[in-house]
Symmetry: C2
Subunit: 153 residues, 2 copies
């Protein structure tokens, strides 16, 4: 089973593909899609769509997991992130689509919702058998992909 | 100049195409795209995307105007509407893209931001030379299209 995790963001969208078989996980691909702040919104969304479409076509994940957009202090930023999440959901048509809150990710990966971010990252590294994951959008996306695989057990 | 107005909504997305030349406006097309509440989010977004893509291809609008998603009491509903708005913005790539708040629409069409909805509808009917527009998603979309044309004068 192969999962695509996506951490949506207009300036930077992280993605990660993880393959899971039983208790074994394998990192297949990861990356961050960046868009230019000066570009019009449609062009930025199109760039994210096109890049993620290539990832989906190349890796053909059965499940797509996205970080649930929560309402931060900055409402207009949350609205933009929700627009990116809509573009991600669009790409998930025909596949299983899941969304997780940051708290759910922590709970699935570390066992409790208050786990610090560094612990989530450590656990993802442990599960994927990789080291040196830096805390960024791609790492968050990998956590979502692992979370999707764990949730389907 | 041809404008597409879109009133985004997950259950019902209204659209309207208006042609404007000087002070003359003409209704070209209007409709409402409905999706099934029981369908998964990706399928519903894909249905909206596909239907609007056909409208864009058929009518080739130079400008696309969408209603700005504002934060209503129901935050999760607003987040879903924002996801639909993202799908609309994606389709506007390569065209001029505008967004208007309900208040801006009222101001552009009736001259003041506190205009009652029925007055906006009456003015849109007057400008388009049509009667019998009922207050619905398609009418709201036509108002957005007219607003886009008025704003570009």
């Amino acid at each position: 089973m192969r999962a695509l995790g996506v951490d949506p963001g207009l300036s930077a969208t992280g993605y990660g593909i993880v393959e899971g078989a039983g208790t074994a996980f394998r990192l297949v691909a990861k990356g961050t899609i960046r868009t230019k702040p000066g570009d019009p919104l449609p062009r930025r969304l199109r760039a994210i769509f096109a890049a993620l479409e290539r990832v989906v076509e190349e890796h053909d994940p059965q499940v797509v997991a996205v970080e649930e957009v929560f309402l931060a202090k900055n409402v207009s930023a949350a609205m933009l992130t929700a627009q990116v999440a809509g573009v991600v959901a669009l790409l998930a048509d025909g596949r299983e689509f899941l969304s997780f809150s940051p708290r759910q990710v922590k709970k699935f990966i570390c066992g409790y919702g208050d786990a610090p971010k560094v612990q989530v990252l450590g656990m993802v590294e442990h599960l994927l058998g990789t080291g040196g994951l830096v805390s960024d959008h791609a790492a968050d996306a990998l956590a979502l992909a692992v979370c999707a695989l764990l949730s389907r057990r």
